[in-house]
């Protein structure tokens, strides 16, 4: 079974897969690499997806669903759904739990179900192209998507029969596709202007690690808006000449909108365009009325300017979060179809003061990045080894007395405040302990005893190390991953029971160029991944291989955009014959949460639990107390957003703490742990902070289907006839 990366876009979906160390964008039967994210319910009962559905958009707009990504994960009462109802020809209605439903041919579908049809088609495309089943996927979403939108996208994947390994952010995926194999430290800005969303993400790339510095976005701003503006312009011109407003008929307007999209694209290549559209409407005598519409690039730019300017407000926001000036960025990467518009390129160049880079196809780069991540997440064989743990210098003497094991002391078991699985982890300390010195002396001296530099300072008195000693010691016991430090001698620390040379790190042979693609044109040469100082230290912990003997980095040639069949090579095939050393690992993505996570407090205010832009995965805890006597249930309302007033933020749902101990008010305090996982989705755990018992906490997200309805949706999806 294969694993793929899917860019589930507002207008188009792209699916890619890593095979033999190369990324392939997977085409359909006819070699088309974009799958329009359009679903049409045909009178025959068939469900059309992609191009056939797009054709139905003008014929049957009421039963043809497009741009569903703009609405997914939105609650019924939200502005976005209201705007969507005005703007889309298909019918929307309120479903259970505030989740909107699409009504087509008398059937009701949740929004994730609509996306699931697109995903299922993408899955089928991939299966056909690969010749094997596809069961897992990494799906991308705009960086600015909130918890509900991510959760709904995950549901869509599951309904389509895919195990969603990870939800990753589109700009981050683009950075991965762009930056793979580049070892230089770079600061890049991703300008991702797609069909329906805009994101600006700022990253620091340093060979092995891609750190997201900040991200900001607008999930209701994209190329679609420009199409609409052009269609409006067309309608007005038609109204002037024929006294008929095409906006009064959904089908007619849909035709204009489709034409507008073509006009927009044409004007990226030329300065003016003339369009003739036949039989737009019928005149008084039954004769047909045609639309004859001309537009120049200047006129288009006038229409586009307000939209483009909005993107820079978003960029400014990201910059201020990162606290960096616009000049701090070495590279600007363009992502998304809308960045093909010349005005956009010009303005990006002006804003950032740098020529934007478009060496990868802006429409495919996200799927390529997703595929790379998917491959990295399923590759068990290659992973980092852990260096020996450092010793906490200043507090080392008291270490064994801190955090006693559960069961070791009756009183202590009552006071374990970590969740049970963590408690289980703590029990692992038992295993570690024998490796540690067991001297009963509480003020036992430490590694300094063995380190001659500070040796004499080690006394058996209760005196704590002075600042300088402590610092020296900290350096001594620094983790091996620290910049190129020589490994500790095997006897230097009680924790490292064996010489480091026998640590698995040493198993990592030197990086060689043996795996370079044969073709000189197969450009990005990740195999030439030049080991920077840090990596070199990691790869050669024993320094038996002199650094000078290591291969010099191959100059990365200037790359043309990734062409149809010259895929980005990413890593050596897994089945490399044994003499060849393993290729470097895919860079690790350190992403952030796009929105602050807040809980409601008295008076309708918010308490920020997780800050915006916090690195993920992360967790924060908050204590909540009962407010009335014998209260056994506590509800905590959770939202996302940056407003101090709770109601001004996007309401996510509530955490329900049930079966609490019955006690006088205020005596039961529940510690709720909010965990934002690698997909930036939220989980909650709760413990009674007095008894240490796990409390029952569930997070019910607004409009997000439970597991049961997901499986019934999946069953319905699987029986639908797709074409």
């Amino acid at each position: 079974m294969a694993v793929v990366g899917i860019d589930l876009g507002t207008t188009n979906t792209v699916v890619a897969c890593v095979r033999e160390g190369r990324v392939h964008v997977l085409p359909d039967e006819q070699g088309r690499r974009l799958l329009p994210s359009v679903v049409s319910f045909h009178p025959s009962g068939e469900v059309l997806v992609g191009y056939p559905a797009k054709e139905r958009r003008t014929l049957d707009p009421q039963n043809t669903i497009a741009s569903i990504k703009r609405l997914i994960g939105r609650a019924w009462g939200s502005d976005e759904i209201r705007r969507g109802r005005q703007r889309f020809a298909f019918e929307l209605k309120e479903g259970p739990g505030q989740g909107p439903l699409v009504v087509a041919r008398g059937q009701e579908y949740t929004l994730p179900e609509i996306s699931a049809f697109v995903l299922r088609r993408a899955k089928e495309m991939a299966e056909r192209a690969l010749g094997e089943g596809v069961d897992r996927a990494v799906i991308t979403v705009p960086a600015n998507f909130n918890e509900l939108q991510r959760a709904a996208t995950k549901v869509a994947g599951r309904v389509a029969g895919l195990d969603v390994l990870r939800i990753i952010n589109e700009p981050t995926a683009a950075a991965l596709a762009y930056g793979l194999g580049r070892s230089a430290k770079e600061r890049i800005a991703i300008y991702d202007f797609g069909g329906g969303t805009f994101d600006c993400t700022l990253l620091d790339l340093s060979g092995n690690v891609f750190e997201v510095l900040a991200t900001a976005g607008d999930t209701f701003l994209g190329g679609d808006d420009l199409d609409l503006a052009i269609a409006e312009r067309m309608s007005e011109s038609f109204l002037r000449t024929h006294r008929y407003d095409p906006r009064s008929d959904a089908q007619t307007f849909e035709r204009l909108r489709g034409t507008a999209e073509r006009v927009k694209m044409e004007l990226s290549a030329r300065d003016r365009t003339q369009t003739k559209l036949r039989e737009v409407a019928f005149g008084v005598g039954g004769g047909t009325l045609d639309l004859d519409f001309g537009m120049t690039r200047d006129e288009l730019e006038m229409l586009a300017t307000p939209l483009v300017e909005r993107t820079f407000a978003v960029c400014q926001d990201a910059l201020s979060v990162a606290r960096l000036p616009v000049s701090a960025f070495d590279k600007i990467i363009l992502v998304g179809g809308s960045t093909r518009i010349p005005l956009v390129r010009r303005r990006v160049e002006q804003f950032f003061g740098a020529v934007p880079n478009d060496r990868v196809n802006p429409e495919e780069v996200v799927a390529i990045g997703a595929a790379i991540q998917a491959a990295a997440l399923t590759e068990v064989a290659r992973r980092r080894s852990i260096p020996a743990a450092p010793m906490p210098a200043s507090r080392w003497p008291s270490l064994p007395s801190i955090a006693p094991l559960p069961g070791e002391d009756e009183e202590d078991t009552d006071d374990v405040t970590v969740a049970t699985e963590l408690t289980a982890l703590m029990a692992e300390r038992e295993k570690v302990r024998p490796a540690m010195p067991t001297a009963p002396d509480r003020h036992r001296t430490t590694a300094r005893l063995m380190a001659p530099a500070t040796g004499p300072a080690a006394t058996k008195t209760a005196r704590l190390p002075s600042v300088s000693e402590a610092t020296a010691q900290r350096l001594d016991t620094a983790p091996v991953y620290g910049a190129g430090r020589a490994p500790l001698p095997s006897s230097s620390g009680p924790l490292s029971s064996k010489p480091l040379a026998t640590q698995p790190l040493a198993e990592r042979p030197p990086v060689a160029r043996a795996n370079l693609p044969a073709s000189a044109e197969a450009v990005p040469t990740p195999q030439s991944f030049p080991p920077p100082g840090l990596a070199a230290a990691l790869i050669h912990p024993t320094t038996t291989t002199p650094l000078a003997a290591m291969p010099t980095p191959v100059q990365t040639p200037v790359q043309s955009r990734v062409q149809a069949h010259v895929q980005t090579p990413i890593q050596a095939p897994v089945r490399t014959p044994s003499p060849s050393p393993p290729a470097p690992l895919t860079p690790v993505l350190v992403d952030v949460t796009p929105h602050a996570l807040v809980v409601e407090t008295v008076g309708g205010w918010c308490d920020v639990v997780v800050q915006r832009n916090a690195k993920i995965p992360c967790e924060r805890s908050r204590a909540f107390a009962t407010s009335s006597d014998m209260q056994t249930t506590v509800r905590v309302r959770v939202a996302q957003g940056g407003d101090p007033t709770f109601d001004q933020n996007t309401y996510l749902g509530e955490v329900e703490l049930i079966n609490l101990r019955a006690a006088p008010r205020g005596q039961v305090t529940i510690l709720v742990r909010f965990e934002v996982d690698e997909s930036a989705t939220l989980k909650v755990f709760a413990t009674d902070s007095t008894t240490g018992r796990q409390a029952h906490a569930t997070l019910q997200l607004v409009g997000i289907a439970g597991a049961q309805s997901v499986s019934s949706m999946a069953a319905r999806n699987a029986t639908a006839r797709l074409r």
Binding site: A389, V588, K615, C618, T690
Partner: protein, 189 residues
Amino acid sequence: MIDPSSDESRSSGESIFAWLAVLDDLTYYELFGVHREASIDEIQRAFHAFCDTFHPDRHVGREPRQGEALKAIFKRGAEAYAALCDERLRGQYDDQLAAVRQSPLPPPRITFSPLSRPPSARPTAGAPLEESVRSASARPFARRAEELLQKGDLRQAKLQLVMANHMDPDNEALETALRDLELLLGSPK
């Protein structure tokens, strides 16, 4: 595929739990192996090296307990990085660190809540409150109060202190702690 029972997996697993075992006792600086005066650049480099080693994505396919341990280590790293990169938080942290350096308590942590006050205001810095408690039933409350104080959750800490006082009446240390805390909570800020 690496056999989970192989030497590599086992020895690495031991290292993971060794890290977990000392996690609470490491200062943010120790965690990254940087000195106290490290520049932002040095901290970033160290954090990247840390991510390269500990990010859960670097450890696909590890057994669940190892995976959870790695996650816990990584989360602490993310917390440390956020604190050390923010000038204000770093200053706060350094102050707290200086205050508890002489005590056997684990190093302080930054709580990241605009509502909670810096734990540097903890009235008990230095002497563990728990040690002055005479009654066994009051001890868990005192300990809990201290933990909460360290987290910066003063209100919850107060609740626990009230309980401790109730269980161990006329304990001067507890009474002082509660009075200090009430003053702190009452003070306009």
